[in-house]
């Protein structure tokens, strides 16, 4: 059965390739070309449409990713929450709205970049590929929510064990193989995105400025300070 080999490759082997590429390349890129870790913002070139794209996209996608993360880390609590239908509906509908929000934002961003000649100049081929992949991935997720509803429950019940089996280095494909095609495509899409991540502008996620919340307002660097010496003694 070729299908069985497909499944074994995409759900048993590819996740490890994807994560390995992610880890190695993210660290390698940070160490060799830290300069390229940037949000590559284009707000300077276009300031109006930017708001209607960036804000819904980011809030939407962050909420949806948090949902996935909760299902991965706290499956039992999630299933308990979903025991009451009303709570299930609230969760499903609010995540669905967030997904629509991110789709709306992404479409706005694509139109924005396509329309303006200046923005096209600062959009690399890798950006267009990335936007296309994100679009497909979000669209798949939304279709799953429509055609295979109550994902917050069945994800926690059947996909979380699969993901943990990956973590435990003994992939258990029993739950994944019978999944509908849409779900399978969404999973493969996710691992492709993870592998592609280090080669794109997505790396800005990794340098989110959390320490700003507790650092002192003013920053002073001394040429001969211990921290500067620790960095190889070179000026930044």
């Amino acid at each position: 059965m070729t299908n069985a080999y497909f499944d074994l490759f995409f759900f048993g082997v590819f996740p490890y390739i994807s994560l390995a590429v992610f880890l190695v390349m993210v660290i390698y890129r940070y160490r060799t070309r830290e300069f390229t870790y940037s949000s590559l913002s284009s707000q300077l070139l276009e300031n109006q449409h930017h708001f209607h794209g960036m804000v819904p996209f980011h809030y939407g996608i962050l909420a949806v990713l948090t949902g996935h993360l909760v299902a991965f880390l706290l499956p039992q609590q999630l299933l308990l929450w979903n025991l009451k239908p009303l709570r299930l509906y609230v969760l499903e509908i609010s995540t669905f709205v967030c997904a629509l929000l991110s789709l709306f934002g992404l479409l706005n961003l694509l139109v924005r970049r396509g329309v303006s000649p200046a923005l096209r100049k600062v959009t690399l081929l890798s950006d267009w590929i990335l936007f296309g992949m994100l679009l497909v991935q979000i669209a798949l997720g939304i279709q799953i929510a429509i055609f295979h509803p109550w994902g917050s429950s069945w994800f926690a019940a059947s996909l979380t064990p699969y993901l943990w089996s990956l973590v435990a280095l003994s992939p258990d494909l029993a739950f994944v193989v019978p999944m509908p095609l849409l779900v399978k495509a969404h999973i493969v899409g996710a691992f492709i995105l993870i592998a592609y991540f280090p080669f794109t502008r997505l790396v800005h996620v990794l340098v989110a400025p959390v320490p700003y919340l507790w650092r002192k307002p003013q920053v002073v660097r001394w040429y001969g300070s211990p921290s500067n010496l620790a960095r190889g003694g070179r000026l930044p």
């Binding site: 890129r29 913002s41 300077l44 070139l45 300031n47 690399l124 794109t200 040429y223």
Partner: protein, 496 residues
């Protein structure tokens, strides 16, 4: 006391002829790269005018600088809680339209155009998109009051004037302008540094130059929004912010920054000030009317043995203290008190000071006769073409007293010199003017010398950087053996 050294600057506006040589020197060295074409780390504005970017002084729009909340300075653009929501879309980020879209001309067409009935033309092409554009504005569109009804009339500082004063200002026979050259102020309480979510912006401990670590910058754009002088810029090509670096590679080798070096009017002075870093926050929390005195009190007397001792203990090198004693900036700001900081009400404690310009002698036209209407000695100051309130809004944090003091002294120095050299004014009158301006003949001569006869070495007292003592000696001398060079080797290429 935490005594540090700060390389500070004075621009003497009465000497500025508005030639833009400084801007060109800077542009040719630092900002002729892709993505930086629209940046003018040094620019010269005509005042009254809207400036660059347009109406940058209007902080209700641009949200730059600090404001007092419960007596504490806080950033107007971003609070700590707002930093994450603002990261996606910064609400106070200016767009390129607020500056201008840089352009070049299609020069090739002049050579390659097919033969035709008309001369070929070189159309303007955007330096961002490369497409032909209709040029609508530039960084200096209102130079020399060009288009005053649109530009000068919208000067934000006019909020300090009465409608009458405004109307008078634009009467043709009273028309008045001056030039306002601007670079980064290398502030003591920089809003850009405080706003940077990544901690990429920093102030150099040894000389106070404010820089952006290009490797650390992530393009969150907060510094652009936070700087009230709009002197941090976003490079749209590399996705990093950039700003004036006070030509530190030149300063470290004992040369004046390029804009200073090239200044035709010799309006620029550079020197070290010793200041007390412990009291910056306290000074920045002062009420508007106390701000100028508060900032002056941060600047310490480099001849005071106690200050010298404390500076030494803090690691300030003797040669830097010596430079501070020779500093022309110290004289202008602290001794003579004729140089004032721009818009101190933004509370960033700028370390670039301006000697406010004297307006031309006031005269009125009655019939066909132009007569001097001056009555008292300093009458011209209050009746000047440019209302004192306007200059006070720019350089006095709203306090006309400080500006009047600076102008009075300058005027007295002029009269004193005229009494000495031309002799058509009685010396006793000139002396009286000096007394009234809280000055003396000795001080007047010193100001005259530093203003009119200053040599290169008088104007620029660049402190030694002592790099030989800082880092190179501690580095492994073998470190760069067999490598191609040192430092930042890969080209600053955009993105992945």
């Amino acid at each position: 006391m935490d005594i540090r050294a700060q390389i500070s600057m004075v621009f003497h506006l009465d000497k500025c002829i508005g030639c833009h040589t400084c801007s060109i020197a800077c542009k040719n060295i630092w900002t002729d790269r892709k993505g930086t074409e629209y940046m003018w780390w040094n620019n010269v504005e005509t005042k009254p005018g809207t400036g660059y970017p347009t109406r940058w002084e209007d902080q209700e729009q641009y949200r730059g600088g600090w404001e007092l909340t419960d007596g504490e300075p806080s950033l107007k653009s971003t609070s700590k809680a707002e930093v994450f929501p603002n990261i996606f879309h910064h609400p106070a980020m200016p767009s390129m339209d607020d500056y201008y879209e840089p352009w070049t001309y299609d020069y090739k067409n002049l050579f390659n155009a097919p033969e035709g009935d008309d001369q070929p033309t070189a159309r303007p092409l955007s330096m961002v998109s490369g497409e032909p554009i209709d040029v609508e504005a530039g960084p200096n569109w209102d130079d020399d009051l060009g288009g005053s009804p649109i530009y000068a009339a919208n000067d934000h500082n006019f909020s300090a004037l009465t409608p009458q004063q405004k109307a008078q200002l634009f009467a043709v026979e009273r028309l008045m302008m001056f030039y306002f050259p601007r670079i980064c102020n290398h502030c003591l309480n920089p809003a850009c540094v405080a706003a940077c979510p990544s901690g990429a912006l920093y102030k150099r401990g040894e000389d106070g130059i404010v820089l952006i670590d290009q490797n650390r910058c992530r393009g969150w754009r907060s510094c652009v929004a936070a700087c009230p002088y709009k002197k941090t810029f976003f490079n749209w090509q590399t996705g990093k912010s950039e700003k004036c670096i006070l030509c530190f590679p030149r300063v470290e080798t004992g040369q004046a920054p390029a804009c200073f070096h090239s200044c035709v009017g010799r309006i620029r002075y550079l020197g070290v000030l010793l200041y007390d870093a412990d009291r910056i926050k306290e000074a920045a929390s002062s009420r508007d009317e106390d701000l100028i005195e508060a900032q002056r009190s941060l600047i310490l007397d480099p001849f005071d043995p106690k200050v010298v001792e404390a500076a030494r203990q803090n690691g300030v090198h003797d040669s830097v203290i010596e430079s501070a004693q020779k500093s022309p900036v110290y004289k202008f700001v602290k001794v003579w008190k004729i140089a004032l900081p721009p818009h101190l009400e933004y509370r960033t404690m700028p370390m670039l000071f301006y000697v406010p310009p004297l307006a031309p002698v006031m005269s009125a036209k009655e019939g066909d006769v132009v007569s001097n209407v001056s009555k008292g000695l300093f009458h011209d100051l209050d009746e000047a073409r440019l209302p004192l309130e306007y200059l006070a809004k720019l350089f006095g944090a709203g306090d006309t007293g400080k500006v009047r003091f600076a102008l009075k002294k300058q005027m007295a120095v002029r009269v004193w010199r005229r009494a000495l050299t031309v002799g058509d004014i009685e010396k006793s009158l000139a002396e009286r003017m000096l007394r009234e301006a809280e000055s003396s003949p000795e001080e007047a001569d010193a100001i005259y010398k530093m203003t009119a006869l200053c040599t290169f070495n008088d104007r620029f007292v660049v402190p030694p950087a002592h790099r030989e003592m800082a880092i190179e000696m501690m580095e492994d001398p073998q470190e760069h053996k067999q490598s191609a060079g040192f430092g930042f080797l890969s080209a600053p290429k955009r993105g992945s």
